[in-house]
């Protein structure tokens, strides 16, 4: 039992104070005990060890030591005891006993445990001694008296150091606790600094929303009036409901949540984003902590942006409506104009022809030529009006999107066109054409115009070659129509899709210059693009794309 030595802490005088005062009778008794122990020490020690091994605390201590260590300890103790009795060296024995008391205290032995050892020793040693010395009553009484003397001495010395050590341990623990408490106090103060200086409003509320504690209050409010009042009373009606539900949720689930709310304060409404966290007592949520961050400026800024967006949207809507209106008016205008223009042309044409018929034989060839020129021009004017009508109609008619067989449609259009026109030999090729949702009637008009153009501008060739192909991208299908006609110079490509824009005179190829404008307008109404590539006298390729997912 290697103990932290108390003897080092005690000075020599203190140990000297422990020396017993024995008279001659006592010395005789001690020597008788010593004589007896010379013979029976081992027996008694071994028996005692067996009994003490059953004690819950002592047994555990003894089990932690080897037999040799225990033997050695007993031996040392016996030697010191003997030296004390025979040579009056009580100081060394006392020092050893003091160490023993310290060790008992450090091992957490209670005084009751320790007195148990003495009791066991007495209860065993007394009958043992009596039995061994039955024939020698005086020797037996002396030996028993000696045993009691030595036990009393040992008990006193051990108790001395045991209680000293106990006191020292308690005092050390108290110091430790005091230090821990001191440190705790410091950290709480630090938390308090953080808490009180936080720009966030931090407070605790109970399950009814009553504010129990708050770090600081808004301008115009007093801490004393805020504590004890309801957190909900500072909210707008709408956010009050949201908060009540939110806080209830935290109490019920024990999980924190974040809620946006608007507080009604004396300085004006403020917007907060609050983190609401449960405070547990055991497994019950007793309070919640609310950390409210003021984000009024951000909310107001967002609102301004939203308002501006709304104003912008409204302006766009107004502008769109205005444009749609203008567009409608324009279309209605162009329709009315084209429509009403037909009647006078019909009249001019009609009366000129009647005149020519009635004045036959009266007028000369020159005059007849003039009448002919009037008729020709009215015909041309009529054609222009018809095309213009067709063009203006495209913008007004609603699209009916559907999938249909594109190649079939093209062949149908081609048949209609070539039925009317006597053409030279025509090689007509239609490749694989993917389907896209589109307005069949409008797309028919597209092919009708493109095919009509291809046939018209190739009509001077000995063999007309027209090829229609398609390619597919993830978003759209692109159609190409290629002819071997007269083509055009690429510098004029920007003009081919314009209304009434023509690249050839009527003497070369007839036309009003509306066909490709119609094509472009239809394709654009399908969110597609249209373009052309050509070389003078080397054919032309017209291409257009149609979206696979057109916007309705």
């Amino acid at each position: 039992m290697k103990a932290k030595t108390l003897t080092q802490d005690l000075d020599g005088e203190q140990i000297k104070g422990l020396r017993p005062k024995f008279d001659s009778e006592d010395v005789l008794a001690l020597e008788a005990y010593d004589d007896f122990m010379d013979e029976h020490h081992h027996d008694i020690a071994e028996k005692l060890r067996m009994i003490l091994a059953k004690h819950p605390v002592l047994g555990a201590i003894m089990n932690s030591m080897t037999t040799e260590q225990l033997d050695q300890q007993d031996e040392e103790s016996r030697i010191l005891q003997k030296k004390a009795i025979r040579e009056q060296d009580w100081d060394s024995y006392a020092a050893q006993l003091l160490d023993q008391g310290v060790a008992y205290a450090q091992m957490g032995l209670q005084f009751s445990d320790w007195s148990y050892i003495v009791k066991v020793y007495r209860d065993y040693a007394q009958p043992y001694i009596s039995a061994k010395l039955t024939g020698d009553i005086r020797g037996m009484l002396l030996t028993l008296a000696g045993m009691n003397k030595i036990i009393d001495f040992a008990l006193n010395v051990i108790a001395e150091s045991y209680f000293l050590e106990k006191e020292r341990i308690i005092s050390a623990e108290r110091d430790k606790t005091r230090e821990a408490l001191r440190q705790l106090t410091v950290s709480e103060a630090q938390v308090r600094v953080l808490f009180e200086n936080s720009t966030d409003v931090i407070f605790m509320v109970d399950e009814h929303g009553i504010i129990l504690y708050i770090n600081h209050v808004a301008e115009g409010l007093e801490m004393s009036e805020v504590i004890g009042s309801s957190f909900y009373d500072y909210q707008t009606p709408a956010t009050r409901l949201v908060l009540e539900a939110g806080v209830r949720g935290v109490f019920e689930t024990g999980k924190s949540s974040v809620i946006d709310h608007e507080a009604v304060l004396k300085g004006g409404n403020r917007f907060y984003t609050s983190s609401i966290a449960p405070i547990f007592e055991g497994d019950q949520v007793r309070k919640v902590a609310v950390i409210a961050r003021d984000n009024t400026e951000q909310v107001l800024a967002n609102r301004r942006v939203e308002e501006m967006n709304k104003v912008l949207e409204q302006r766009v809507d107004e502008r769109t409506a205005e444009l749609q209106n203008i567009n409608r008016e324009l279309e209605s205008f162009s329709y009315t104009v084209s429509h009403d223009l037909r009647a006078p042309i019909r009249a001019i044409d009609g009366f000129t022809k009647v005149l020519a018929k009635k004045a036959k034989g009266i007028l000369g060839s020159q005059e007849n030529h003039y009448l002919q020129m009037i008729v020709e021009n009215t015909t041309k004017m009529g054609q222009l009006i018809d095309d213009l009508l067709a063009f203006s109609r495209i913008g007004r008619v609603e699209r009916q999107l559907a999938n249909f067989d594109m190649a079939h449609l093209i062949r149908q259009v081609f048949a209609e066109l070539t039925q009317l026109n006597e053409k030279p030999k025509i090689s007509f090729f239609v490749g694989d054409l993917p389907q896209v949702p589109a307005d069949r009637e409008m797309i028919k008009l597209v092919w009708s115009n493109l095919l009509d153009n291809a046939l018209k501008f190739s009509s001077t060739r000995e063999e007309v070659i027209i090829k229609i192909t398609a390619e597919e991208t993830p978003q759209e299908v692109i159609y190409h129509i290629e002819d071997n006609g007269v083509g055009f110079e690429m510098e004029f490509v920007g003009k081919v899709f314009g209304v009434f824009q023509r690249l050839h005179s009527d003497d070369e190829f007839e036309g009003t210059g509306v066909g490709l404008a119609i094509v472009q307008r239809i394709v654009q109404r399908h969110q597609g693009r249209v373009w052309a590539h050509s070389e003078l006298n080397n054919g032309a390729i017209f291409s257009f794309s149609l979206s696979k997912n057109p916007i309705l």
Partner: protein, 154 residues
């Protein structure tokens, strides 16, 4: 006076030139005494139902064919057609729309109201004459009207 004439063709047309050209086209049928030209929808309705200027006209005397323009002042062709089709005395009169309008809306609407044919006036006079002649011949001469068979009119 018109109420004494047995009307074969009723032409409702606000455009003077178109009316004159139409009449000219119909000259070959030698029906000029039996063609009545009315200048707008209101006149047409007054004539057909014996009102206003035509108060007292024998409304049992119905034309064999009405050639009807659509775009007219006051009462347009659609309204005339609707009125004609909703009166038992006039609902069997064949009506041919003769108009400048190629609008789908107009075509669909007149067919829904029960028009017999719809002709877009060609700009070319020769075609125009042919169209009017065809219509006049078909409805005015060739077609058998229920009245002729004595099956209608109580």
């Amino acid at each position: 006076m018109t109420d004494r004439i047995f009307v074969e063709i009723l032409l409702v047309e606000d455009n003077k030139s178109d009316a004159e050209l139409t009449l000219m086209a119909l000259e070959d049928f030698h029906l000029s005494n039996q063609i009545v030209w009315l200048k707008n929808g209101k006149e047409a309705l007054d004539f057909l139902f014996g009102r206003g200027e035509y108060e007292g006209r024998d409304t049992l005397q119905v034309p064999k064919i009405i050639l009807l323009d659509l775009k007219m002042p006051k009462v347009d062709g659609i309204e005339v057609l609707r009125a004609v089709r909703s009166d038992p005395k006039t609902k069997f009169i064949p009506v041919t729309v003769l108009t400048s309008s190629k609008e789908d809306k107009d075509i669909v609407e007149t067919y829904q109201l029960g028009v017999n044919s719809y002709i877009v006036k060609p700009v070319d006079f020769d075609q125009f004459v042919k169209a009017v002649k065809d219509v006049g011949y078909y409805w005015g001469i060739l077609n058998q009207h229920p009245r002729k068979n004595g099956n209608t009119d109580s």
